[in-house]
């Protein structure tokens, strides 16, 4: 108990004093996850919106596969990216292994199914309600999917926040492809794992507190968006439940 309270006090001091090591790890984490999210969203939002509207043979199989990817452990994604980027892998020539780019790629692949699957659900619900009206005005499937995605932009904003929460809180993928190299690829989750195993609990706890604060902020932002939207529109269907966890 003494160890915990002492560690917690030191951790709070590190956070309050903006310890340079802690700050650099936090900034790197935010940069990796934000880049991964931007990459995943640029593809996942369009793909998900299109899947919400398009009807084609094999669609059910594609959706099953997409939903399956939601449950893939991050360490498996890390392993696949590791094999792709390793010297003998098909993308080995890029020389990205144990780099910032490798971590971005791994996290992007991890959250892409989250973005695509949740977007698909949001847009498909909108299509059920309003797709006929847009089709009546002459919008084809692709244009309809984009218009409905735009119309559901507030719901999709929470999807983006959920994806960011998933990216920043994962450890397995970045550990494998980043290598946890100090000053280069060490992020909050990998640093927490390492410092805990070394017994440096104050830094691990300090990083844990920051990570908790980041996820808490994202959830708070989601709630604010939801409330603002309800106030603006006088009550709307509930946004998808997107509770984030570490």
């Amino acid at each position: 108990m003494t160890t915990f309270s002492e560690s917690a006090a030191t951790a709070l001091q590190l956070v309050a004093a903006l310890d340079p090591t802690l700050v650099s790890i936090v900034w790197r984490s935010l940069a990796v996850s934000a880049s991964a999210c931007a990459l995943a969203c640029s593809l996942g939002l369009v793909l998900g919106a299109w899947l919400g509207v398009a009807r084609f043979a094999g669609r059910a199989a594609v959706l099953t596969l997409l939903n399956t990817f939601l449950a893939v452990p991050s360490v498996v994604v890390g392993l696949v990216v590791y094999l792709l980027l390793s010297r003998s892998g098909p993308l080995g020539f890029l020389g990205w292994l144990f780099s910032f780019k490798a971590m971005v790629l791994a996290q992007a692949l991890l959250v892409l199914p989250v973005v695509a699957a949740l977007t698909r659900q949001v847009v498909e619900d909108a299509e059920t309600l309003h797709g006929e009206q847009l089709a009546s005005l002459g919008a084809g499937a692709l244009l309809r999917s984009l218009l409905l995605a735009w119309d559901e932009r507030f719901a999709l904003l929470t999807v983006v926040l959920a994806a960011f929460g998933r990216a920043i809180s994962e450890v397995g993928a970045v550990m494998l492809v980043g290598g946890n190299v100090e000053g280069f690829t060490r992020v909050m989750t990998t640093a927490i794992a390492l410092e805990t195993s070394k017994g440096d609990l104050p830094l691990a706890l300090g990083l844990g507190l920051v990570l908790l604060a980041v996820v808490l902020s994202l959830n708070a932002l989601t709630s604010l968006i939801r409330r603002w939207r309800e106030r603006e529109e006088g009550g709307t269907p509930a946004l998808p439940a997107l509770g984030m966890s570490l």
Partner: protein, 239 residues
């Protein structure tokens, strides 16, 4: 009068052959320019399916549907879908989707809003309008498109009596404003059918059992003698 819509033994089936629903079966009809056709019948008789089939939102599973390619169509739904845009942009969207430049579409949308008396609300968020006002925005879209065939799927069913009268009057104005404007509408409201329609199609379980002028449809002797099912429906609805 030229034919603007025609179905030839058209059928629509939802679901699989083994476990589906025959929503329409063997419907053959012609709609001429300027007609005001009401589709009546009990819930689930196929009114909405026939409207969607005629408008092109559904393809027939058997038979054929022919449309005059030079005639612009628009449709009002029971609950209009308006995007999270201003009222004017919602009207302009319909024009933009049909190839107009956005700035031109906005100008035409402003004129269309005057037709439905909503010019003062042009800049307001469409989602803040009442149900009746939203339906007027949907009608303004049809005005802007200069649709010569207007489909209406019970557009006043979810409105209060005052809004109902307003929208119905605007639909009447729309039909009168341009020569040869064709209305095809589904309605449960027989008073509305009497006021708006020139011709009535009675449907039951996906089949068209009566195709009458509005005068004959509301003539009890004609209906009871030749169309007992339609007669029973009208008596039931009138109770």
């Amino acid at each position: 009068m030229s034919v603007v819509l025609e179905t030839l033994d058209a059928a629509v089936r939802y679901g699989t052959r083994a476990r589906g629903v025959q929503a329409l079966d063997g419907v053959s009809l012609r709609v001429h320019a300027g007609e005001r056709v009401a589709l009546v019948g009990a819930n689930g008789c196929g009114k909405s399916t026939l409207l969607r089939l005629l408008h092109g939102l559904l393809a027939p599973t058997a038979g054929a549907v022919l449309r005059d390619p030079d005639t612009t169509q628009a449709m009002l739904f029971q609950r209009p879908h308006l995007m999270r845009l201003s009222v004017q942009s919602n009207v302009a969207l319909g024009l933009w989707l049909r190839g107009q430049r956005w700035s031109q579409a906005q100008a035409l949308a402003a004129q269309a809003l005057q037709r439905v008396g909503l010019e003062a609300l042009a800049a307001r968020s469409a989602h803040k309008l009442s149900g009746g006002q939203q339906q007027r925005v949907a009608l303004a879209r049809a005005w802007a498109l200069e649709a010569r065939v207007l489909f209406l799927d019970e557009p006043t069913a979810s409105l209060d009596p005052h809004a109902k009268r307003e929208v119905e009057a605007l639909v009447g104005d729309y039909a009168r404003a341009r020569a040869n404007t064709t209305l095809v509408f589904a309605s449960h409201n027989l008073g509305q059918v009497k006021r708006l329609a020139s011709r009535v199609l009675y449907l039951e379980q996906g089949r068209m059992l009566a195709d009458l002028s509005v005068q004959d449809f509301f003539d009890s002797s004609v209906l009871s003698a030749h169309h007992p099912q339609a007669h029973a429906f009208v008596k039931g609805e009138s109770v």
